[in-house]
């Protein structure tokens, strides 16, 4: 749950971008960082290994104004996608309020998407959390590659593979061109804040 500070009148909300390695999570945050520079007071923090892969996580704070007199601070995180970094993914999922699942639309990545989603569910279960009860948005990324004659998974296939049971909102996007990146972000913020509002009204 989000952290509410009644003295400073501030709420910290944790949103995690999850998904298979190389799917475009870091690129999403880099785009947001560029696009909303004026609202981001701090530098984007990224812990990388040699070769530009996310080792630990990326972290980006965004102030979105106030609700019921509370300043809302959104904290975006990405997880490292590579299979061997599961311990780190679990750390980042602690206290998560909302999740964007960034799936890779490339035909070759179909299995990796499915496995990453299973891994997310397992990791949440180890915290006694249920993915179907956490604000969630699917982003089907890299749709721009269609224009480069690269075989992409049809939208229906991705929906069937990943979202058939969860029935969460979804967007087709391109993190590299920025297409639907801001919309994905707005969607997850609005769902997450929606569930928070009740709590603030009770304060």
């Amino acid at each position: 749950m989000a952290l509410i500070n009644p003295k400073k009148k501030e709420v910290q909300v944790k949103i995690v971008y999850y998904g298979p390695g190389r799917g475009g999570k870091t690129t999403n945050l880099e785009y947001i960082n560029q696009k909303f520079k004026s609202r981001i007071k701090a530098e984007m923090v990224t812990v990388k290994t040699y070769g530009d892969r996310t080792l630990f996580f990326d972290f980006l704070p965004l102030d979105i104004g106030s609700i019921n007199g509370y300043d809302i601070k959104i904290q975006f995180y990405t997880v490292p996608g590579q299979v061997k970094y599961n311990a780190t993914r679990k750390l980042v999922l602690r206290g998560v309020d909302g999740i964007v699942f960034v799936a890779d639309s490339m035909g070759l990545r179909r299995e990796m998407n499915i496995r990453s989603l299973q891994n997310l569910e397992e990791n949440l279960r180890s915290f006694n959390k249920d993915l179907s009860r956490i604000p969630l948005v699917f982003q089907y990324n890299k749709r721009d590659l269609a224009a480069h004659n690269i075989a992409l998974l049809p939208l229906e296939t991705m929906q069937q593979d990943l979202n058939a049971k969860l029935n969460a909102p979804y967007l087709e996007a391109s993190a590299i061109t920025g297409d639907n990146v801001a919309l994905t972000m707005k969607k997850i913020i609005s769902i997450t804040i929606g569930s928070l509002k009740k709590k603030l009204e009770e304060k």
């Binding site: 509410i4 009644p6 972290f59 995180y77 311990a87 602690r94 206290g95 998560v96 959390k129």
Partner: protein, 131 residues
């Protein structure tokens, strides 16, 4: 497992008072009480810094988790001293409860031994608030 604790205004003020008296007044530059999700619960400083406390908290929570996992790998429950020494400023971490960490940033004027003493004093007082 919920990581967030729901503190009211009064509890926050009590903790701030402890941290101020035990640490800031003794020359500590900046103290941050954070949870293991990386949230900043309390941030106090001596008025002459502008650290990016939200990023510090995110990294501190991750770092603490990573070091705890390392401890487990060699058969330890945890490492009791977590300390990063810098040229002028250093960082000390201390576990308060299972979900809470206290991070202190201090300069050369404060000795590590003295700081550890004061931190454990503060931690003891905070623990007693949660009874």
């Amino acid at each position: 497992m919920e990581f967030t604790l729901d503190l009211d205004r009064q509890q926050i003020e009590k903790i701030e008072k402890i941290l101020d008296e035990e640490l800031i007044e003794l020359g500590v530059i900046n103290v941050i009480l954070l949870d293991l999700a990386g949230n900043v619960i309390i941030n106090l400083d001596n008025g002459s810094t502008q650290h990016d406390v939200y990023s510090l908290a995110a990294l501190a929570a991750g770092n603490f988790g990573a070091v705890s996992a390392m401890a487990n790998l060699i058969g330890e429950q945890e490492f009791s001293l977590l300390f990063h020494k810098g040229e002028t400023d250093s960082i000390h971490f201390s576990k308060v409860t299972d979900d809470l960490l206290l991070l202190s940033i201090f300069g050369k004027e404060v000795s590590l031994g003295f700081l550890r003493l004061k931190v454990s004093e503060a931690v003891r007082k905070i623990e007693s608030l949660f009874g």
